[in-house]
Symmetry: C2
Subunit: 149 residues, 2 copies
DNA sequence: CTGGATGTCACTTTTATTATAACAGCATAT
DNA sequence: ATATGCTGTTATAATAAAAGTGACATCCAG
């Protein structure tokens, strides 16, 4: 697994918070659900904090969402994690002496931008609440929220 | 990792063919425009051949498009190069003992599929001809098609 | 035949991403 | 105040996907 999973993991973290309000959630505990290490979780949360999706206090294991799940879109999370990085990548190493190589890539950029906008429009229409609702359907209504201190 | 540029490079190759009809195009020559090595170009062309976008004869340096550029979409090229590989990747290594981890990823899949469909719908609307037309605008009307044997 | 190109495979190199260790800074409890 | 536990951040290592490359059998044209 070396495909980028930051977006998926970030959603996982946010959903985890939303599903366990008021519970003591250390990065260690979240890491167990994502099956990774606490430092990575804290890095994710750091990005989410910069994106103003999450607030937390240093030394205090109670991170909380900055606003309700219905007002956090997948695009918000994408921006927080990936910034302006596009989903499709161009080859920027073509031969600069070859007009075809340079200008084909310039032309492609316009179309890649269109694709990016289409994807982002879709992301903007999906909220964390939607994902949580779907989660509850899949999980068979919250049979997993026990056993947490 | 490395950012994948196969799609961009494949479009580059196809456009190169379309722009130089009837010209002797060895993988070596195309590689110079893409600024890579001939073997990689031949690998790209191999995938394009499997996708039925390109035909060529072994030992014969005259690859040609299987159909006109207006009937080759960016989605066709994407399929040939990436198959069913999605543009967004899920984390498949979450803790299987944690219902949240498993089911959040299941829920995400549905939404990632939506995003994939939106992106692909856009790709299906873009043809190689469109890209070539834009290329000509950028290049200032075919000032680069000389000097080829 | 000979020369040149393709098609394919195996291997190497590169590099984005995740994994992890270390530690200063802050909160809480005793 | 001090001890403990957790956070936030940085630096570095390990992993793995992608491109880069060499080799060679195969096929075409002259």
């Amino acid at each position: 697994m070396k495909y980028p999973t930051k977006l998926s993991d970030a959603v996982h973290v946010l959903a985890f918070l939303a599903l366990h309000p008021g519970v003591c959630l250390t990065s260690q505990r979240i890491a167990e659900s994502v099956q990774t290490n606490p430092a990575y979780i804290r890095q994710l949360m750091s990005a989410l904090r910069r994106g103003e999706l999450l607030t937390s206090v240093r030394g205090h294991p109670h991170p909380t969402l900055s606003r309700e799940p219905g007002r956090i879109t997948l695009l918000d999370v994408y921006r927080a994690m990936e910034g302006e990085k596009p989903i499709l990548h161009q080859d920027t190493h073509t031969n600069p002496d070859c007009g075809v190589g340079v200008n084909i890539q310039l032309a492609l950029r316009d179309y890649y931008d269109e694709i990016q906008r289409a994807a982002e429009a879709r992301m903007a229409a999906i909220t964390l609440q939607d994902i949580i609702d779907t989660y509850r359907q899949k999980a068979g209504i919250s049979s997993d929220e026990e056993g947490l201190s």
